[in-house]
Symmetry: C2
Subunit: 792 residues, 2 copies
């Protein structure tokens, strides 16, 4: 299966209405995701939703307890950027096909606590529970649960757990596990440790989710126990890369623990007696690291020390420092919506997961499914740059920077790929990857999507424009922008048959329902933007910091002629336009294709890609997601409102929204042209996509781009926020039925609060000095602490 | 590796000249292929060239003796149409992708004779040979060899072998093995039988050729010995299909034989003493059958009886009946060339292999590499219909019919494939197959090539037109033509933006260096021909045999409206034309693509497909093989000479000829427009392609289409032969440096001899009465035995 597809349906008013009426699974709490009891049917979806991560370490929201056999439960603990390199087999291969896949691996799990009371094991789905509830607090990232278990031996045993993945310490997770006896008397055994044997068919897992078992990922365990810290190092299968995991227990209160290794499980076995009213609390610190196998000794020592440090600090202090990071995040990124707690919860849930999963150290990025599941093999796509980076640019720019630094760190691999693709100069980023090499084995919708280069460039340009961090260009940014720009010159040509316009042939746009086309509007427009900005940066660097400029040029053997050609190609870029309809053509010949027969396409045949051969789809005028409309959204200032209306009116009805990247863009586009009802309807499809499992595949992981799309829908859409030519502007409105919404944006160090309500929009400068922006075409300047309420 | 590629180079005068100067490997004998000695380097190529087959059974030209370890030798005995069905794995799959491959299997080999003299084994490449020669007589299909071996024990032992695959008995091969002592005295042991354990790494075989070992193909051996006939039946791996093999020995002259089974080898062990001058002759009859496993008992009994019958008849009588079939073939198909024995030998060699490998019973077709090697997995492609069928239509029409009947026999599978491809009606033939299902895992150059349907239709139309066998339409032919025609109506549409012309989007033409394009000229023109002829046939059947017509219509639920739409689409077919250049555009946008930089493409980078990613190739104006020019050659009467000249002048220099299907078409096209030098040069690339291994990959098998291209080059090319509107016509010329050439064509039961010489062209009606045709626009009629010599 080509993975870039959801299991959605075409969005129509009627289907959206129907969904709106179906009761959401979770109580509409503004800050928490709360689940009561245990549900066999939704277990694997809940595990995705309750996942915790910090950008390096991620772990699915599985229970500490065993789960009933046959229930679809998918365990997973991941390290962002750590992958298995696996050869790709083709029945018919060809030159330049991706040779290896990168698969995000499973690492030893430390969450499981096997609890037996008088010989009976606590098993979710089987054991008799008086009550059970768990809550993931999005404000703090803390997961808490309480289960009241009635063992056959009589009485009630309460299991109370608090756990978090530390935002302050990349490899660290802490678990507080308590038992309280309410009338239970007898022997209790707790087993916990590290499990390097899970996955595959364990726990009757869904075979579609998480193709790997941890045993496919890791080999050659080397265990070591020092000062109560149990360390286990493995080599990533077939590589020279090490993954270390370690843990220690605290707070057992003098009860005897025996340590045992059983297969791929390192476990401590704690047995004690509980009398009525007794309680016991255990703290477990679990840590991870990775690095070259040659550094195994150092890595082990550092990890063991980290664990000891964590124990020395203690659970509560660790939790406090962790909470501070979350507090900082929300202080910059929170969106408040006064339109019912459901909307509020959905929007926060999405921002929460974005922040949790995004890599933050410049060596890893943001997977399409974050660190919540193994879907898409944990690959990074263009979604990161086009959908997720804007959110971070405007709220936590250091995360945006880290994501861009990741691309810079893989520039050499992108240069290699460019050579394979016969480009003598420049760098070509891969369609899907973890380590930087191209992993797509289906090139028509993989390598064919040359717009990946434009996406990275777009994000870099936006990052510097919004943050003012000009230093980025000197720290690899200019090299990134120039090397990626070069590809366009080799890919395209000045076409005499089109009046000397610059044409780009044989590429695939964002809409994967048309492939390998000439002059894809999106690609050409984004390449134009890229080339124009690259030429401008070159001129600017040359004028302002000639020594920096000279060094970049020397580094990549760049000369004046190339800059000139970039400007030239940008100015003469061919953008296919149909005079008759007054719309851009998605690509040459697009409007010549027959229409898709929507009327005779049964609802169960969506997404089309799972029911029609690519050739059947490709030869029709049918879109998986916006293409022309996406270009007009991203390059908003380049197109008039009328122009956007015409294109939206033409392309939207031909879009299936089979990709979860679709609806938010249509929300923004409809908001801009004034179709508020449609904008709201599309927004609704974004903000509860995962929390309500609307595409039916959340068990594979959440949809990061769609989550970021909630933010885009509200800021770019309802608030009409744009940033062009150095100026931030708004054209806000209040969606029908809403009382108000409030968000913040950070631009060049100033944080602006924006509250939209019936009576107008209140702007307040929350930090920084003298900030100017536009409200509905009107210039506004605010000093620190100042506010102003404006109407349209 | 995508297999539809040779290892060729662009043909330029200089490279062709260089090749012409390199000495050919074989003595230029007009009828025989003669090899002396043993060459390590060319062994696997010779095994291909010396292959023998009858359309059902084929066996490679390996020696009976052992071959030195490490020498690239690839054993192979095949049954046309008998294959392994193997699941195709995709890293990223999608709906409708081919699910299974069909791989032509290896069957037990009966050629090997292990000879030891005083304990020393005769081994090609190792043993001391005084002399050795073998000769494949193309007139009779008999392979003879003589080896003078000097065993260490002293003296000389002569090994004389004659073998043939019977043209008169589908499953039968006969081998006469003689030993003559010239001064050798001592014990001799001969072992021979059936080997079901060869292939794979046996004999240090080339891992690229013959991906399978026979052990991958067959399982569950069941042996049975009755009246000296050793039978071994196997199931084809993973199927319910049986392959039976059997043999018996004769003429041992009372010497004791012991019978043994060793692993997968059933062998007889004959030991005897030879004195000086003694000789011994052994005859071996080897037979094969296949069928459903449920008929195993019957199949075995029949095969055992066949072998007994063959022995009763004896080697010489079997050889006589076999020779008669070959005599009949040459009487209808021979081409005599008075231009040096090399040309003569090359042309005959090609016709010989075409006849050997073509299926003749309507249940199997002609593999791209015939039965000479396992290249392309033994798949059938469109080459059969477009390149090979014409040769048979004009020489042995019953073979052409059998090849078409094979397609009819797979119509149900083609209908299934059409449904998978979302066509509610009609049949879509697979791009590559054995059993009838689509086996191409690379759809841009597989299923994308919808012109496969037009190729089958073209061959059917040509067959009936030339033979006059109208009964073909009633025997499934009409159903074939109508069902395949239907696909065009669903694939294409009347395009308002192109003035209501019928357009076909997202297909790949014969030139695989452009893929998934709109309005491919070749596809549209061939579809037009197909639709026009289908509509005409419908009208004709309706008028002449209404009951036949009604039954076909009922069978496939066809109505009047459909016929009308076929005519309509044919008349309004869009053929992309560039007014400025006065040429057809290969497809929409083709002339907009940048030119390939031939100047900076080093010679070692051909074929391009092995050195550039498909996307790089696809986005340039570069051809692997003719596309527009092929359409103009096949539909010759539809285009003017001037038109052809312009298109040839444009497209030929942009063609790499990376496919062996390329050069013959350019030979024909150049001949037609009067570029005799180029025509000859291209012809030279066809006629010795395999015999001189010019593409360097003959060890995988010969190139059937290219072989047929020799015939096309001479008849369609030099002799300007066409058949249009019921009339055969010629416009012959003598290539420079040639003294003459002579061929025959059979049209509607009349056989016409055509001899082209300096003084003119002599036509003679060799069989049949009153035959009319045209010579250079002039009508000619000949009675039986009459002849006429005409000049241009």
């Amino acid at each position: 299966m080509i993975l870039r597809v959801g299991i959605g349906k075409r969005v129509t008013v009627s289907s959206a209405e129907k969904r709106a009426k179906s009761a959401p699974r979770f109580k509409a709490d503004p800050w928490c995701l709360i689940e009561e009891g245990f549900s066999r049917e939704t277990q694997s979806v809940s595990e995705t939703l309750f996942a915790q991560a910090n950008g390096y370490l991620g772990t699915r929201g599985t229970f500490e307890d065993a789960v009933e056999r046959g229930v679809s439960s998918v365990e997973g603990t991941f390290l962002n950027g750590v992958y298995l390199r696996e050869e790709i087999h083709y029945d018919e291969s060809a030159y330049g096909f991706a040779t290896h896949n990168n698969k995000m691996i499973l690492v030893p799990d430390g969450k499981a606590f096997r609890l037996t009371a008088e010989g009976e094991e606590l098993t979710q789905g089987e054991s008799e529970l008086e009550a059970q509830a768990r809550s993931l607090d999005m404000k703090t990232g803390l997961l808490e649960r309480s289960s009241l278990w009635r063992p056959k031996a009589g009485g009630t045993l309460e299991v109370k757990v608090r756990r978090f993945v530390s935002m302050a310490r990349p490899g660290l997770m802490a678990i507080e596990y308590s038992l309280v006896s309410h009338g239970f008397e007898g022997g209790v055994v707790l087993e916990t440790g590290l499990d390097a044997g899970y996955g595959g068919t364990n726990r009757g897992g869904d075979p579609r989710a998480g193709a790997l078992s941890i045993r496919d990922c890791l080999e050659g365990a080397q265990a070591d126990r020092t000062a109560d810290v149990q360390y286990v190092g493995h080599k990533v299968h077939g590589s020279e890369h090490l993954v270390g995991a370690a843990y220690c227990l605290d707070g057992v209160g003098g009860k005897a623990a025996t340590h045992a290794v059983q297969g791929a499980q390192w476990r401590e076995h704690l047995s004690f007696s509980l009398g009525k009213g007794d309680s016991v609390t255990l703290i477990k610190y679990v840590g991870y690291c990775d690095g070259p196998f040659s550094d195994a000794k150092d890595l082990k020592a550092r990890l063991q020390a980290d664990i000891s440090d964590a124990r020395a600090l203690g659970f509560d202090a660790l939790l406090d420092e962790h909470k501070r990071v979350f507090a900082d995040f929300w202080a910059a990124a929170d969106i408040q919506v006064d339109a019912g707690a459901e909307v509020q919860q959905g929007v926060r849930f999405n921002l929460f997961h974005l922040f949790q999963s995004a890599g933050k150290d410049g060596n890893r990025a943001l997977s399409a499914k974050g660190l919540t599941g193994a879907g898409y093999d944990g690959h990074y796509f263009w979604d990161t740059e086009i959908y997720a980076v804007p959110f971070f640019v405007f709220s936590r720019p250091e995360v945006a920077l880290a994501l861009l630094e990741y691309r810079i760190s893989t520039l050499d691999k992108a240069r290699e790929r460019a050579r394979t693709m016969a480009h003598k100069r420049g760098a070509l980023f891969p369609w899907r990857t973890i380590g930087g090499e191209e992993c797509s084995s289906y090139f028509p919708a993989g390598t064919g999507q040359y717009h990946i280069n434009a996406a990275v460039a777009y994000a870099a340009i936006q990052y510097v424009a919004v943050t003012g961090d000009e230093g980025f260009w000197q720290s690899g940014g200019a090299e990134l922008l120039f090397e990626t720009a070069r590809i366009w010159m080799d890919l395209g040509h000045f076409n005499a048959r089109k009046g000397g316009r610059f044409c780009i042939t044989e590429v695939t746009g964002p809409d994967e329902y048309t492939a390998m086309a000439d002059n894809n509007l999106y690609t050409n427009a984004m390449a134009q933007h890229h080339l124009r900005e690259a030429a401008a940066l070159a001129a600017d660097l040359k004028a302002r910091t000639p020594e920096v400029f000279a060094s970049v040029c020397a580094e990549i053997d760049l000369d004046e002629e190339e800059f000139t050609s970039w400007s030239d190609a940008a100015e003469r870029m061919y953008l296919p336009y149909d005079e008759e309809r007054g719309i851009y053509e998605q690509c040459d010949g697009f409007l010549d294709k027959p229409e898709w027969d929507f009327e005779n396409t049964p609802a169960e045949n969506y997404p089309l890609l799972l029911h029609y051969h690519p050739l059947v789809i490709y030869r029709h005028q049918v879109l998986k997601q916006p293409d022309v409309v996406l270009a007009q959204t991203l390059l908003s200032d380049r197109f008039s409102r009328e122009d956007k209306m015409r294109n939206l009116a033409y392309y939207e009805p031909r879009t299936t929204h089979d990709s979860t990247l679709s609806v938010c863009i249509y929300a923004v586009a409809n908001a801009e042209v004034g179709d508020k009802a449609k904008a709201l309807e599309f927004f609704e499809e974004t903000y509860r996509m995962d929390i309500d499992n609307r595409h039916g595949n959340t068990h594979y992981g959440v949809h990061m781009a769609c989550m970021a799309g909630s933010w885009m829908s509200m800021t770019y859409g309802f608030a009409g926020m744009r940033f062009a030519h150095g100026t931030l502007s708004f054209a806000p409105y209040l969606p029908d039925g809403w009382n108000g919404y409030k968000f913040m944006v950070t631009v060049r160090g100033r944080r602006l609060g924006v509250s939209v309500a019936a009576e107008g929009t209140r702007y307040e400068l929350l930090s920084g000095e003298n900030f100017s922006f536009e409200h509905c075409g009107q210039a506004v300047t605010l000093g620190y602490g100042e506010s102003q309420t404006l109407t349209a």
